[in-house]
């Protein structure tokens, strides 16, 4: 019996390792614009009492921070912008856009930000982005930012670099207001992150203590029983 308990406790420890890694990743990205935190919860395994990690993506709105830079674009509300990467179309929550050498609107990686009619070319001086995503350059509309929404959150997967991939086809049109001159903060709260870290540490300690206790039981069993 103690042997099996040790194995179960080890599985619990491996769950807490995952939790710690995710908490560390969230905290490392506390200053990453447009970052969406990962949440991990325990599900009981069908085969036994140990926990199995279940991960969800926290899509809560991050705070909007005014920067005043013309091509800083944030999205208020659900929904995503679409960027064209070399692996296909990916979703993004905005960020510091800029213009490439050819005057096309690109994101921080140089991937084209798509409008409703493909990539957006901007030439002019006064760039104004309206709440509905319409880009007005020197008084004439130059295009409209494409926005999509994904109904099934579980279909979304983070790809790093601020990109999201969706396993279902995202629906065009999204509820959301485009904010020019603003960036979205990470939706990770450092205080909650620290408290989480503390909880993980305590749970870890409890499990290792339990393991020690069972180990000493096992030690007694092997050394005392059968002694003459």
């Amino acid at each position: 019996m103690p042997l099996r308990s040790i194995v179960n406790t080890a599985r619990a420890l491996s769950f807490y390792t995952r939790r710690q890694e995710i908490a560390a990743h969230n905290l490392a990205n506390v200053a990453t614009d447009g970052y969406k935190g990962d949440r991990i919860t325990a599900r009981q395994s069908p085969g036994g009492p140990w926990p199995v990690p279940a991960q969800t993506l926290d899509l809560q709105q991050g705070n909007l921070r005014q920067t005043g830079r013309t091509l800083d674009v944030a999205l208020e509300g659900s929904g995503f912008f679409v960027v064209k990467t070399k692996d296909g179309e990916r979703l993004s929550r905005g960020g510091s856009f800029s213009l490439d050498a050819g005057g096309m609107l690109v994101d921080a990686h140089g991937d084209a930000v798509l409008g409703t009619e493909g990539p957006i070319a901007i030439s002019g001086r006064e760039i104004e982005i309206e709440v509905d995503g319409t880009i007005v350059v020197d008084g004439t509309p130059a295009g409209r930012l494409k926005m999509v929404s994904v109904n099934d959150q579980a279909a979304l997967r983070k790809e790093g670099l601020g990109h999201f991939a969706s396993s279902t086809t995202p629906e065009s049109g999204a509820e959301g207001r485009v904010r020019q001159g603003a960036l979205e903060d990470a939706n990770v709260d450092s205080i909650t992150g620290l408290v989480d870290l503390l909880a993980i540490q305590r749970a870890w300690a409890a499990n290792t203590e339990a393991m020690k206790a069972m180990d000493s039981v096992l030690g007694t069993v092997t050394s005392e029983i059968g002694k003459t």
Partner: protein, 261 residues
């Protein structure tokens, strides 16, 4: 080795970069024509540690993907106009609005600057404080007693026997599709890159160029209060990541304690 530790280390490195950028901004708070920079970060690739699996009756559990930290995405220079500072010196020029002065670099290329504190070289040329000649050349006659530069960049000098004002040229300016893409060369100079696009040249108050203001300098666009707040945020984030490393280390240590001899 607990990979969470490396994740937290990447967070510390990112915040260190943030502090580096802020320190440079603060150091240049009084540099004429200086443009502040901003560090931005991105999450790195995710690793799938557990594939999607079927849990009994509750449908499919989503795969568990663990991110491995953060990295610097870009340091963006913010080309907003700094405050105008009236100096009264005739050769101090500021551009209110878009545009860069063009200067000749020692290697023959053209450099671009917003620092308009010009001086006159021994040959009468208009040069920057760093000694780079304005492009195209602007040579003041030796008997010049006063220089007037109008808002559209026309340079007139008066002096000599007659004391009459004569036009000797017009200052040409350059602008870029993406000024954030310019390369900082130091000495308040920028160089053209493929990211900035090719320079479009023109004259002040034409085609969207700003106006030239004589007797004025553009101060840096660094705002000390903003930098200090960013600094505090970066410092706290650094501490939090350090704390996460300690937590990971603690967990490893308690495992180590399990082994009895």
């Amino acid at each position: 080795m607990n990979s969470g530790m490396r994740t937290s280390a990447s967070g510390m490195i990112a915040q260190q970069k943030m502090v580096d950028v802020i320190a440079n901004n603060l150091a240049n708070v009084n540099t004429t024509g200086f443009k502040r920079s901003r560090a931005s970060f991105e999450d790195v690739l995710y690793e799938t540690v557990q594939g999607p699996r079927i849990s009994d009756g509750k449908g499919v559990l989503a795969p568990v993907q663990i991110g491995r930290g953060v990295r610097l995405a870009a340091i963006t220079r913010i080309h907003s106009t700094g405050g105008m500072q009236v100096t009264g010196r005739p050769l101090d020029l500021a551009i209110e609005g878009e545009g860069f002065f063009q200067v000749k670099l020692p290697d023959g290329r053209t450099g671009y600057t917003r620092d308009g504190s010009f001086a006159i070289s021994d040959s009468g040329q208009l040069v920057t404080q760093g000694g780079h000649a304005l492009v195209p050349d602007l040579v003041l006659p030796p008997d010049t007693s006063a220089v007037t530069i109008s808002e559209n960049g026309t340079v007139s000098v008066s002096g000599g026997a007659s004391g009459e004002s004569i036009e000797i040229g017009r200052i040409e300016m350059a602008r870029f599709a993406n000024p954030s893409g310019l390369l900082s060369l130091g000495g308040n100079l920028y160089g053209e890159t493929s990211a900035s696009g090719a320079a479009t040249t023109g004259y002040a108050q034409e085609d969207g160029f700003g106006r030239v203001m004589q007797g004025t300098l553009e101060s840096s666009n660094v705002e000390v209060v903003q930098e200090m707040t960013d600094m505090i945020a970066a410092q706290r984030a650094y501490e939090i990541n350090a704390r996460a490393i300690r937590a990971a280390e603690d967990m490893m240590k308690s495992i180590d304690d399990l082994i009895r001899y």
